[in-house]
Symmetry: C2
């Protein structure tokens, strides 16, 4: 597969981008097309041994900054890495586009250059939420904040294809995010989308609350509007950060007093008369170190697992081409992973699958439904 | 103050209710009017020494079950503890109503019996979110899932009065829940409500994301529609529960191997030749116990603090009377706290304050705004 990488997007661009591209080309044998200012890329690339790797450079002298208006920028800056890169996908010269840059510009560029799939009204960002089991695909995570019930049905259709082809889930279970499991729970949008999903040919399992997503794992794909999807993502991040700070603050309270209290029995032991005094404190040290290790190892494992997943690339679904958006803080390892993901998704043939799932026959019965308005 | 307590609502009713009422009457010197089946209450009350306490019983032979349709039940069951209790507030024979029962029935009953304040279109449930500083009042937590921008303005007006009078916050900072701080972020409802709030006389500080609520503490009152408010509450609970389970599962992995590894240096110490062998293991034990104590104390403090706040009663705002909804799992201590809260809120004169804040003069300029539809 031929993956286009936007080398100018992200906090560590282009260093992390080029390093990640070299690693990915070596590890997965794919072609990585490096888009950006030719000279800078060539200079950076010269630092690596690229013998036998396919890393063509396509010049794109311009780039889109974080402060620019996405839709205006992609229409005006035709020589930007976003537009040049996406055009390669549109023209069949590449199979997927990866960017760690301005995510709004990537979305706007994908809509402007690649265009929407037929029978898709709005695109959706699909994110992966860690659960007690496998990650769940949640869409939309923020591409379309105001949704009509039909959009949610379309998100379910494309999410189902993505889960089946790119994640290997057979007959994916689709749920609708709500604040209660019963069909009559939720706002008007949720209630109307629930009816559409129940009538569809999808494997719809009903409404899911946040606890069903993270803990009970009642679904493989969770559908929601972009506002709610973005809100639960940000709430999740905020609660984790809040918990960590709250615990840290509490540990710092009367720290000296607590340490002295904890050390007192050990110190007493050291001053007891008799032979082998050193054994007491050494034992305390070993006991303490052992306990710290036994505590830290599982905690670090949990942190690693949640971090790793959060750093996976996020596909933009509903456009005519594979587009993966990675985190602005992406390092070389994240870029490498995003390229691997793009490679896998491009191989899975999701675009053809989605086009088939969105055939008029399967959405015809929804045309007489109204949105919120 | 005279607080009406629904003795038939909640998992531990009426035992926890009666015990909490006795404790509250003794601790705060308030009158607690016990509403429910007279004989059961009298029998339960006979178990306590109530000398000098004011605990009148008002008979309400009927009660509303969790499976009943709230609005229909309150209209039909006029002898239920909900309806009888709320009528006492309406008729001026009591100052507040507290229930741990069917919260839908309490809301429906409050609307049916007490009625809405003038210039309030919909009621709001106001919850308290723990933060790194003082709790933040969030409304609506689920009473009104589909909101128009004007409702959010009204929630801000009554929330501001509640924070000022019942929580003692001077000139409360009002924020609007969104998925981004900028004024153009959020869905259409948020954007329109943002404009209304900016034009109002309230101390509006702009949009707030979940991290602003929990960590940065940029506001005292956070306004949102009932669907989003309920969603972030449930997401918060789910993430805490998910984190706890994830860590527990990780601790259980290869438990025997890890324990043996941690104990090995200590055991080695015990088998070293020489005098005072016992000191090594005893030191290890002391060191380990000290460390466990030093770790557990702050964690338990955090747990207690979050739990305690979550168990505070939740006021229903926008109706003509003080109504406090407590958790269905409420024990006597929670009931006692809810009665204290009702007593404080009734004293604070929030109903008069809200009526004044909602005077036509302060909302007149909003009548030409449209809702979502």
């Amino acid at each position: 597969m031929r993956i286009v990488l936007d080398t100018m997007g992200g906090d560590q661009a282009p260093q992390a981008q080029i390093k990640g591209a070299v690693q990915a080309a070596r590890a997965y044998g794919c072609t990585v097309i490096l888009v950006g200012p030719q000279d800078r890329i060539a200079a950076e690339l010269a630092r690596y041994d690229t013998t036998g790797l396919d890393l063509p450079i396509v010049d794109a002298p311009d780039s889109i900054g974080m402060e620019e208006h996405p839709a205006q920028a992609v229409r005006r800056k035709l020589a930007s890495s976003h537009v040049v890169g996406l055009r390669l996908v549109r023209d069949g010269q590449a199979d997927a586009f990866v960017s760690a840059g301005h995510s709004g510009a990537t979305m706007a560029g994908a809509l402007f250059v690649l265009g929407r799939l037929s029978n898709i009204d709005r695109p959706a960002l699909a994110g992966f939420f860690p659960t007690l089991d496998k990650p769940v695909l949640v869409l939309d995570m923020g591409a379309t904040t105001d949704c009509k019930p039909e959009y949610l049905l379309q998100f379910a259709q494309i999410g189902s294809v993505y889960a089946e082809r790119a994640m290997g889930v057979r007959n994916p279970r689709i749920a609708l995010l709500s604040n209660g499991e019963e069909a009559n729970k939720g706002n008007k949008l949720v209630q109307e989308a629930h009816a559409l999903l129940r009538e569809s040919t999808l494997n719809f399992v009903g409404n899911a609350e946040p606890k069903d997503l993270l803990i009970n794992k009642t679904c493989d794909v969770l559908v929601t509007d972009g506002f709610s999807g973005n809100l639960i993502l940000k709430m999740g991040e905020a609660v984790v950060s809040f918990g960590a700070r709250k615990i840290r603050n509490e540990f710092r309270r009367r720290l000296v007093l607590r340490v002295l209290l904890c050390l007192s029995p050990t110190l007493a032991l050291a001053f007891l008369p008799g032979r082998g005094r050193w054994r007491g404190p050494v034992g305390a040290l070993f006991g303490g170190l052992g306990l710290v290790a036994a505590t830290l190892v599982p905690l670090l494992r949990v942190q690693h697992e949640i971090d790793y997943r959060a750093y996976g690339g996020v596909p933009l679904l509903g456009v005519k081409g594979v587009t993966i958006i990675t985190h602005g803080k992406a390092d070389a390892y994240t870029i490498q992973n995003a390229i691997r993901q793009a490679d896998e998704v491009a191989r899975a043939g999701i675009i053809a699958g989605m086009a088939a799932a969105l055939e008029p026959a399967s959405v015809n019965d929804t045309t007489n439904h109204r949105g919120l308005a």
